[in-house]
Structure formats: C-alpha cells, structure tokens
C-alpha cells in the first residue's frame, strides 16, 4: 500500500516537475530573448563548480538537463566521480546564491522524483 502511495506520489511529483520544467524553459527562453534585445551589461558570466549529492543515473542526467533548461545556467561538465557539476552561468552576481538555487531548488526536486 505504501509502495503504491509512493509511486503515485512520484507520478504526481513528476507531473508537477514537468510543469516546473516547462516553466523554467519558458522563463529561461524569455530571459534569453530579453538579453538579446537589451544591452549586455546585465551579464556576469562565469563557470561554477557545484557539489552533487545524487545517486541514480537518471537523477543525475535529469539534474544536468534541468540545469541547462533553467535560466542563465548551462551544464558544462561533470566530474568522473559524479560528485561535482560545472555550470556555465550567465548572471553570476552572487556565486553562493547561484549554488543554493541549484542545490535547494533543482536538486531537491530531482531527488524527490528520481532518487
């Protein structure tokens, strides 16, 4: 019974996740659109190392993909031990805030569904 519940929960979260993903995608696309139209002063690009605490491969790839589909971030590489991910950020005003967003918002969601 618990298994079924867990499964349903996951499915539910997955659906939520899909919408979240789409939202991120749309927002990020709009960001890009905005950036292209406006002057580039806003940008503060950089490449950041973010620790990863995901185990399953599905989770990892979902995470990496999600990062790429999120505004201003793009997965560039992952360490061979799957513990660190390198992200290209377009607006790196605050490095720690950026890492937190990745960890708390994205990784958390991924862990709920895939890990």
């Amino acid at each position: 019974m618990k298994m079924i519940f867990n499964f349903l929960l996951r499915v539910f979260r997955f659906i939520i996740f899909v919408f979240y993903y789409l939202k991120e995608l749309i927002v990020s696309s709009l960001y890009v659109a905005w950036d292209i139209i406006t002057p580039k002063d806003l940008m503060k690009p950089g490449i950041v190392e973010v620790p990863v605490d995901l185990k399953s491969e599905t989770a990892i790839i979902a995470f990496a993909n999600l990062i790429s589909m999120t505004p201003g971030s793009l997965t560039m590489d992952m360490s061979p031990d799957k513990k660190k991910i390198y992200i290209h950020a377009m607006y790196l005003h605050d490095k720690q805030k950026f890492i937190d967003k990745m960890k708390n918002e994205l990784e958390h969601k991924i862990r709920q569904i895939f890990d």
């Binding site: 491969e57 599905t58 990892i60 790839i61 990496a64 997965t75 992952m78 360490s79 061979p80 799957k82």
Partner: protein, 137 residues
C-alpha cells in the same frame, strides 16, 4: 575522453532507440519507416553507445559478431522469397496471412515483412561493423 553525462544518456538511449527501431520496422509497410530506417536506428543506438563508452566496451556489450548479423539478414531476405516458390508463384511474390482481423486493428503478416526484417538486420550489422573499424583508438 569520457563524459559521464553522455554515458548515462547513451545507456538510456540505447534500449529506447532499439525499441523504436523495431516499431519503425514493423509499421514500415503502412507508415513511414521500414527495415532500412529501422536498421539505421539500431546501428545509431550502438554508435551512440560507442561514442560514450568507446569501441571496446561496446564490443563487449554485444554477444554476436556484426558480420554474422549481416549475413543472417541477407539469409532472411533470401528466405522470404522462397514461400512463393513453394506456393507455385514466382520468386519473391508477396504472400500474406491474416492472423487476426478486428474492427480496430488487424494483424496481417507477409513475406514482404520478413524481407524487411532481413533488410533491417543487414543494415544494422553493417553499421556496427563500420563503427568498430573506424572508431577504434
């Protein structure tokens, strides 16, 4: 140079591509697709795998020699022309048999389909061979 992300993606994509290739093969007679496109997909699955993991590991992950796959394909294509001979028709005449006929769907199998299977295997085998020969380090 390996990429862990690519490896994970390839591991997931391979069964997906193979499954899709089979579907494409089956419905090729009525929808876009067929043996050749299916075979290409099958080969593509392995090329992707080889790009992620290298040829050696790919080679270890399969249990058949691709040249035999090609030959089997050729043989099946050849065999598919034979039933017609047994039935008194000209070589390679399409012979059909309806297994199941309903209002929603029907299952009709015929020698042209078998022929397409042959095409599928041949192309798949060839692609794998090219990959093994060219992608070696």
């Amino acid at each position: 140079m390996e990429s862990i992300i690519l490896q994970i993606a390839a591991r997931h994509m391979r069964p997906l591509l193979i499954g899709l290739s089979l579907i494409v093969l089956y419905r090729g007679h009525n929808e876009p697709g067929g043996g050749f496109i299916g075979g290409l997909m099958f080969g593509a699955a392995y090329i992707l795998y080889a790009m992620a993991f290298g040829v050696d590991r790919t080679q270890k992950s399969i249990f058949f020699n691709p040249i035999n796959l090609t030959a089997v394909g050729l043989f099946i294509a050849l065999i598919s022309g034979m039933p017609a001979l047994l039935l008194g028709d000209s070589f390679m005449t399409g012979e059909w048999y309806t297994f199941f006929q309903g209002t929603l769907m029907e299952l009709k199998l015929g020698t042209p389909l078998l022929f397409d299977v042959g095409v599928y295997l041949t192309v798949a085998g060839m692609l794998m061979l090219v990959m093994f020969s060219l992608m070696e380090e």
